[in-house]
Structures are given as C-alpha cells and as structure tokens.
Amino acid sequence: MSAVSTTTASRVHTDPSRWRDLVDSDERAEFAASVRAHLGARFGPDAARACFDAAQPAEAWREIAAADYPVIGLPEAMGGAGSIVDAVAMVEAAGPALVPLPLVSTVTAWQTVAHAGRPSEGRAYEVSSERRAALAVVDGTDELVVLDGALADEVVLVDVRGAAVRVSVADVSDAVTAVHRHVDPGRPTAVLDRTRLSETVLADGRTDVDAVLAPARTVLAADLTGVGATALDRAVRHALEREQFGKRIGAFQGIKHRLADVYVAVERARSLTRAAAVALASDGTSDLSAAELALLAKAAATDAAVDSTRAYVQVLGAMGMTFEADAHLYFRRAQQTAPFLGSAADCYRAAALVRREDHR
C-alpha cells in the first residue's frame, strides 16, 4: 500500500473544501476578539500573580458562567451551541488572560463527554455553565493527578480497562487529597482519591483511547497555542523597545531569527489544532484521523508553548528572571499544562503509531 493510497476513505481528507473552517468566519473572529477583550480586562498577569499569595478567585467563576464560555461548542442536547471549533477559538483567545479558574479543564471535561459516544446512543447528560469540571485519565492507580482540579465540582474519568475505554463522571466533593500550586497557582494540580468518588458511567466500550481523548487534547492544544502566541507577542514588543549595543535588540539576527522560529512553531501548532477541531466537528464523533491530528496538535502546541515562553524569558534577559516580570507566569502556565494527556514526545510517537496502523 502506498502512503498516498487511493482509497476513498483517505481521499476525503484531501478535498480542501472540507477544511474551510480552518479560517475563522467573521462571526467567529468577532467572538474570539470579544473573549480576548473580556478575559484580558478581567484577569491577566496581575491576577495570575496574585494567586501566589492568595487563593484562586473562585467567586469570579460567576462571570465566566454568565458568558456561557464553558458550554460553547457543546451539542444542544448538552445545553450548548456551536461546535468544538468555537470552543477551540475561545480557549485560544483566553490565552493572554492566564485565567486563574478552571475554564480549560471544564471545557476538556465536557468536550470529552460530548464526543465519547455515538450521538445515537444518546447522552442525556446536561451540563451547566455554573459547574466547574476537570478531566482525569485513570492509569491503574487510585491516585488521580488532575489538571486544575482544585476548584472542580465534577470530574470526568477516562478509564482504560484492557481493550475497552470507559467514560464516567463523579462529584468531586471531598475526594481531593492534595493541591500542588507551586508550578502555576492559577491552574494548580490536584490529587484525587478515586475510592472516594461515586461514578456514573456515560459511555463504555469504545476501544480507542486516543479517539476518546482527541477532543480534550485539541482543547489543551488550543490553550497552549494561545499561551505560546501571547509570549511571542510580548517578546516581540520587548525586542522592539529595548536597545543594546546601540540598536533595538530585535534588529540582531540572534533575536530576530529565534523569534521567527517561534512564530513558525506557533503557527504550526495553530494549524494542527484547528485541523483537529475541524476534523472532530465534521465527524460528529472522533474518528481515527481526528485522533491522530489531536495527538499532533497537542505535541506541536506543547513544543510551541514551552519554546515560546522560554524565548520570552531569554529576550527579556535578567529582567525576565524576576517575579514582577510576566514572562515566568506564561512559562509556568505552559509547564503546568504540558505533561497532561501525554508529553510532546509521547504524542508524536502515538501519532506515528496511529498513522502506521492506518497505513496497513
């Protein structure tokens, strides 16, 4: 079989018109701009920095709920509207604001539920914007390490049981045994004791865990892309202002070429993330190729976010190493999110395996 096989199944991918949603409609672009303006004004680096000394501003969830961000892109049956492409645009636009509340974790959780079964199986599971959620992947122990789980009301569990994958949901109530705030106190890591959870099964029997995790990976990729793009923006702004050796430092190719490479990394991540979202949206449920794209997107966005935030620190110089500079806040957010649902290397490798499988 050739890599560029001529089966109809793979041909559908090469018809460009399928991918029109890669580019925002005017409507979606306006929506993203409004999210950026709203969250940027409401949160931003200072709010993120405040979490080092105080708790996350839990009460501000009200505003996020009022804007219905958590349910954007969910099917109407679940109380939402639009598609995962809208959710991805929203999450990416939230990047600059470093939202110190479990918005992204909530979206990953509900999107996982939304795509977990075939529509015909019915998912009479309604969510509301008031509830905050998080996603846990069960890997054999009862100790669940959960991104942004400290404030979650509910947790969605993806449990790989041999060849079958089960998706369930549970109230978090008093299952949190530890909260680790040192990496990014605006998005802490929680440890949950699974034995204290009372789970309701939502979907069972799907066999491909990468397909089940595709929506969540795509959402995390959007978050990381947004963080990476923001760090690049701010590094560029600094390189345009700061002078050394009698020139603006952005004129030096050492800086210019590094930032150009970061731009490539960010756009690479953005293209793959959008493609994964479009694939998920147009399939209704995630098929194997959406699983592959989501893996590639998560990997590329992790690379982009870590590299871009690191470059942001480097371009700032010693100033970038201070607490008052914003650079470490974005770096922390990237580091905090990076390992969940597979490191970049894990995801690249898994994608290669999916492609190889597909290729047979």
Binding site: V4, A251, S271
Partner: protein, 368 residues
C-alpha cells in the same frame, strides 16, 4: 467526493496505465509517459484547471483547482518535465504577454513542446534580484545584452528563457531599472555551460554567458523597466504548488518507515514530528488559500517555505538514518538526502526566510 474530483479520477483512469498506482516509482520517471501525460492534461483541461479552455484549463474555481492539484500530488501523477515553464513562465506570459507573444508561445510551453529556463540569478548576486548586473542596451529594434546568469536549470534543454536585465542603470532604486526579455537560447552570443550537481541524478545547473546577444525589442515581456513586477507576479502563481509538493515530498520520504514494524521509540517520535511538519504544511497552506478567498493577505503564508524546506531536509535525514547501515545500500536515499540540502537554499535561504518573517510579519527592525 466532489464532482470535480470524480471527473479528475475518470481522466486519470484514462490517461494513466492501469497499474500506475502499483508501479508509481517506475512510471513517474518514464519520460515518454511524462510527455504524453502533460499533453493529455493540457487537452482535457486538467493542467491548469482554473484557466480557460484552450489554455490547459476548464475555468474551475481556485478552490476546485487546488483540490485537483492536491489530488494529483497525492496520487503522484507523472512529473511535468519543465515545471518552471508551466508554473512560472506560462502565468507570466498570460499576464504580461502581447497577443503575438501569447499566440506564439503559450501553447508550446503548456504542452511541453518548448521548454523554458529562468534567467534570474547572477554570479555574486545570490537571490538578490535587485543587484543584477546583466546589461541590455537598446539599439534600434533590438536590445544588445551582455552579462551572465547562473543556477539556470534546464538551460541546455530549453528553447527560451525569461531573461532579467538592467535596462536603466540610473534608476532611482535598483529594482526599478530591470526589464524582462524573452531570450531565444539559440541566438548567437549565447553560451550555455552545465554545472554538475552534487546529487548526480539531478538536472545540472547551467551558467549562461551572454556576449552581445541581440534580442528583438518585440521580445520585451511586460513594461520596460517593469521586470520586478513581472518576476514577482509570475512566481506568485507557483506559491501553492510549492507547499503541496513539499507536503507530498515529506510524506513520501517517511513512507518506507511506516512499513517497518521494528521502529524503536526514538524513531517513532521523530517520525511523528515529521508527520506534524507535513500536516502543518498542508493545513497552513490551506489556511492561506481560504484566507485569500476571504480577502485577507495571510501572514502565515511566510512560514511555508521555511517549515516545508526544513522539514523536507529532516525527512530525508530520517529516512536515511532510521535505516542504519542498510541505508548505505540504497542509492536513492543518499541522492534524496544530498538534494534535500538545497531545499533550505534555493528560492531564498532559511536565513533569508527568517529575516522575512522577523521583519515583514513580526515587524522587527531591518539591519542591513
């Protein structure tokens, strides 16, 4: 599948041998088939599908034309021999040519009957067109040209060349004094010398020496001193072809690895990274296409050359290194590897691409 792609599929079924897909590596380099397929594509309107009937097209929308191009690349249809003729020269002739020029030249270049070379680079000028030094002096009905061109692929096999020359040495800005002439490579005073390539199976570059070559003034393509625009608008037509080809090239280079069940974790990770590059080229390319359709001039266009060429190089490296010492026994692997070193050089080096991104996209200060 769309109607257009279904029709293209039928065309390919007729124009290509039945076992084409199975023996594509053989057929793709079959010169006779390549010639025939180009003529067939031209006649049936699949060569440049968005152009008008009679010029190799059938008036498709640019979206449909792109779909056809992607599908052709994916199915690895026979390579056009004189790819710059169809991709660069023909659009230039169509846009800037006089009716007489178009009458005489368009059909032959599109059918592949007459090949063309691009006379742009000069020794010492790299890809910096503005610095070219080949002079054209008007003498009555002719331009008298002296100078030389380099890196001129297929100049030996070509009948014609688009020759960029300095017609106004006193122009306020250097690129304002350049014109494009249509050079008959058989003219007296033209001397073509091949420069063999490091990858030996690849067409040689040529140097073209021009010693008092007389070119009829009628052979001016586009306005006098308007050569800069002729060059950039001719090249623009190729832009989607480049990323589509990059995408396919990268996928092809790593294809054998997908058939190996024994690949280690290391190699799988690198393979995934290359797949990500390939898909990022494709989807970024599509973003630029849809962006242009909605009237934007997409910034992300500027990553395509850098990402695509670096990834293509990385892919040939992976193809060779992931096979260990056995990779040394397959001559094609090394040819591809050597030739891929040029991907980050030709058409603007990676360093130039990074400057372009830094300055045009990110707005960082120039420093030259």
């Amino acid at each position: 599948m769309s109607d257009v792609l279904a029709a293209y599929d039928r065309f390919l079924g007729e124009a290509l041998p039945e076992d084409y897909a199975a023996r594509v590596d053989h057929y793709r380099h079959d010169d006779h088939l390549r010639t025939e397929f180009q003529v067939a594509s031209f006649e049936a309107g699949w060569l440049v599908p968005d152009w008008e009937p009679g010029l190799g097209g059938q008036g498709l929308s640019s979206g449909d034309a792109l779909a056809v191009r992607v599908e052709g690349a994916r199915r690895r249809v026979p390579k056009i021999h004189n790819v710059q003729g169809v991709g660069v020269v023909a659009p230039g002739l169509r846009r800037f040519g006089t009716p007489a020029q178009q009458d005489r030249l368009l059909r032959p270049v599109l059918r592949g009957d007459e090949w063309w070379a691009l006379g742009m680079s000069e020794p010492g000028s790299g890809s910096d067109l503005a610095s070219l030094r080949t002079q054209a002096r008007r003498e009555g009905d002719v331009f008298v040209v002296n100078g030389s061109k380099i890196w001129t692929t297929q100049a030996r096999e070509s009948r014609w060349a688009t020759l960029y020359v300095r017609t106004d040495p006193d122009a306020a800005r250097p690129h304002a004094g350049i014109s494009c002439l249509i050079l008959d490579l058989r003219s007296p005073g033209v001397d073509v010398r091949p420069i063999p390539r490091a990858a030996q199976s690849v067409d040689a570059f040529c140097e073209v020496f021009l010693d008092d070559v007389r070119i009829p003034a009628d052979n001016l393509l586009g306005p006098l001193n308007g050569g800069w625009r002729v060059a950039s608008e001719s090249l623009e037509h190729e832009r989607d072809m480049i990323w589509v080809n990059n995408w396919v090239e990268i996928a092809q280079a790593v294809e054998p690895a997908l058939r190996r069940p024994d690949l280690g974790d290391d190699a799988l990770t690198e393979l995934g990274r290359i797949l990500a590059d390939a898909e990022a080229v494709r989807f970024t390319g599509l973003r630029t296409v849809f962006g242009r359709l909605s009237g934007r001039d997409p910034d992300e266009f500027f990553i395509l050359k850098l990402l695509g060429s670096e990834a293509a190089q990385r892919a040939t490296r992976f193809a060779m290194e992931s096979t260990g010492v056995d990779g040394l026994l397959d001559a094609q692997l090394m040819e591809d590897r050597v030739e891929s070193l040029g991907a980050t050089i030709y058409g603007g080096t990676s360093e130039v691409q990074r400057n372009i991104i830094g300055e045009r996209v990110l707005g960082l200060p120039r420093d030259r």
